[in-house]
């Protein structure tokens, strides 16, 4: 069902990723091109960005945005930490789901029912979630998680593939099937294109929009739990630059900010690009103060690239049309 334009778009993003990797290999083959580095970056670090970017991408596709994902992640990590610490995995999972789903629902209701602009609503929820996380954290550090819990991230069910990469692949397959092969998922694209027309067609747009934010919240909760397993501690600094990274990943991956098109494969390409850029800057000893500038430039570049691709396809379509008319 994907038309030529989408396939070319996706391929060009992976081409950008390839070019980046080639450049990095050229500059520092000793540090970048090692199996250890590539495995760590692509299979162990990238999944965190990828999962949050999934949530962000789904929101962008439906013409919204969610800035609160990273804070929801921190909060659900802290609240479920004690349960996981004591081996009560089911309870921990329940708490994480409740926190992620709850804050996602809060976003969803503010945006779909009360019609607060997406940016304001998610910014406020981000403020609230982060504030709560700091109050609960209160400077305490929680550490020492059981090994069976840590195996969620560090173990290898399939030899050679860290479990976290496996989890990400499973999540990707579920969400991809959901968005591309179900009516519910196609609702995201429909709402992103034209919310009014969608509502007038009888589709329950409000409910769908709300559920998009709930999915984002659940993904954030999952990422929080995975961070607990990876770092073996509950740490507020995991919030890091995830908000900007996930936004940049979605945009450079090929999902236009106005929504309506783009798949989660685009998100993965974009997330890899961002992770490779950060890894590259790290290896090249670029001072960390430049990181924010670079990611901002990446976002601007993606805007220009998007405009460029649109223009190219318009010209291509016009050329094909004149060819048809001449024939």
């Amino acid at each position: 069902m994907q038309n030529k334009k989408q396939i070319i778009n996706l391929a060009s993003r992976f081409l950008i990723l390839l070019i980046l990797c080639v450049v990095m290999s050229f500059l520092r083959p000793d540090a970048f091109l090692t199996a250890n580095n590539l495995r760590q970056v692509l299979l162990e670090q990238a999944p965190f960005t990828i999962l949050i970017s999934f949530g962000m991408s789904l929101c962008i596709i439906s013409h919204g945005i969610d800035i609160s994902l990273s804070s929801t992640m921190v909060l659900s990590a802290y609240l479920s930490a004690n349960a996981f610490l004591n081996g009560k995995y089911f309870l921990g999972a329940l708490i994480a789901i409740a926190v992620g789903g709850g804050f996602g629902a809060l976003n969803g209701i503010l945006i779909s029912k009360i019609k607060v602009p997406a940016f304001i609503a998610t910014y406020s929820v981000d403020f609230i979630a982060l504030g709560l996380a700091y109050v609960i954290c209160d400077g305490k550090y929680i550490y020492g998680f059981p090994d069976s819990f840590r195996a969620l991230v560090t173990g290898e069910l399939i030899p050679g593939l860290p479990n976290i990469a496996l989890v990400t692949i499973v999540v990707f397959v579920i969400l991809y099937v959901l968005t591309r092969f179900t009516n519910y998922g196609r609702g995201f694209y429909s709402i992103g294109h034209n919310a009014t027309a969608t509502k007038l067609s009888g589709i329950k747009a409000d409910g769908i929009v709300c559920s998009v934010y709930i999915i984002g919240g659940l993904l954030a909760a999952l990422t929080g739990v995975l961070y607990l397993a990876r770092l073996n501690s509950a740490d507020p600094s995991i919030r890091g630059t995830l908000t900007m990274d996930s936004l940049a990943a979605s945009l450079i991956g090929g999902i236009p900010f106005s929504g309506g098109t783009g798949t989660l494969a685009n998100t993965i390409a974009g997330a890899f690009i961002i992770v490779v850029i950060r890894n590259g800057m790290n290896i090249l000893n670029v001072p960390t103060t430049w990181n924010q500038v670079v990611v901002g430039v990446v976002i601007v570049f993606s805007l220009f690239y998007e405009a460029f691709m649109d223009k190219m396809f318009v010209r291509l379509a016009a050329k094909n049309k004149t060819k048809e008319q001449a024939a």
Binding site: Q292, V294, G296
Partner: protein, 324 residues
């Protein structure tokens, strides 16, 4: 074409006065000339930033980069002053930076037709990062007679020169908003962009100018804040973006734009600063102050959005039902 007649005092002004009187009763030390002047002084930097923000919200968009431009202005002032560059050159450079960033935003949004949110978000990130780079990651202290004067000097009687400068700039902006074609067109562009285009208004030029002014005003605010603290902190502007948005919306310019203006924003700014001052006089810890202020801001914004939606719904109801 041009707004004749008296300047309308918005309803928020009453709220501001009531809040001030309330705090006078709650906290004894609140009611004093010294504190009053202090509140005015603390409102100045926020107000200048909010002036530019008012216009970008008026045209139904938002300029998220104002905080970063302010940080850049402060940091540039500090670093260049320490390098021995003459003050005149520093001020020109900072204003040029404001013009540059404003023009960048303006061109990307009005000419290239990029989405305003992503564009200003990325500009915000880029220049926040550049501010960190220039300042080498830490606050840069500096000593400069001119900066110290505009930031801290007072007239006999206690009025800061800062307040007078801010009042002057606000007055100029109010004049521009009411008596120029640019100002008048902003309301049309914000009210309904497609109708404005069809009416022959040069919407692209209007949008460009809005972002240009936003950049200039934010850089001026950066100069002022550097003067007030005799330091350039690269993260000084981080909270200003959202607080300026709050000041504008509380002051009566809704996010969907088309109405409101600077007069309301002045009262919105005063309200926020009276709130901060009053809470600290009550002895509430700074973290809780931030939390309370944040909750109040969010509630006021939500109330404003709900109200605007109600007004739009009622308007549509009037249009689409047969009125007798």
């Amino acid at each position: 074409m041009i707004k004749k007649g008296k300047i309308k005092i918005p309803g928020i002004a009453l709220f501001v006065i009531v809040l001030y009187i309330l705090f006078c009763f709650i906290a004894q030390s609140f009611f004093s000339w010294y504190n009053f002047v202090l509140i005015l002084r603390n409102s100045c930097t926020l107000l200048i930033v909010s002036l530019g923000m008012t216009w970008s919200i008026l045209i139904a968009q938002t300029d998220l980069s104002v905080g970063s431009v302010m940080s850049m202005g402060a940091v540039m002032s500090a670093v260049m002053s320490n390098a021995g560059i003459p003050t005149v050159v520093i001020v020109i450079c900072v204003l040029a930076m404001g013009v540059g960033v404003g023009s960048l935003n303006g061109i990307l949004i009005s000419k290239f037709k990029f989405d305003f949110w992503v564009t200003t978000f990325s500009t915000m990130s880029i220049f926040a990062g550049l501010a960190l780079v220039i300042a080498n990651g830490a606050t840069v202290g500096f000593e400069n007679k001119f900066y110290d004067f505009i930031g801290n000097a007072t007239l006999p009687g206690g009025i800061y020169w800062l307040i007078i400068i801010t009042a002057l700039i606000s007055g100029i902006c109010i004049y521009v908003e009411r008596n120029t074609e640019f100002g008048f067109n902003m309301f049309s562009v914000g009210g309904c962009e497609s109708a404005a285009i069809d009416s022959g208004i040069n919407v692209a030029k209007n949008q460009f100018l809005v972002y240009l002014f936003s950049g200039i005003l934010s850089s001026i605010s950066g100069i002022l804040v550097a003067g007030m603290s005799n330091a350039g902190a690269p993260t000084v502007g981080v909270d200003y973006t959202f607080t300026a948005m709050a000041a504008v919306v509380i002051g009566g310019t809704p996010f969907i734009g088309g109405k409101g203006g600077i007069v309301g924003t002045i009262f919105g700014t005063l309200l926020l600063r009276i709130l901060t001052s009053g809470l600290s006089m009550m002895g509430i810890a700074p973290t809780w102050q931030k939390a309370i202020t944040g909750v109040i801001i969010v509630s006021l914004i939500v109330v404003d959005v709900v109200n605007e939606n109600r007004v739009v719904k009622n308007g549509l109801r009037r249009i689409y039902t047969d009125a007798e």
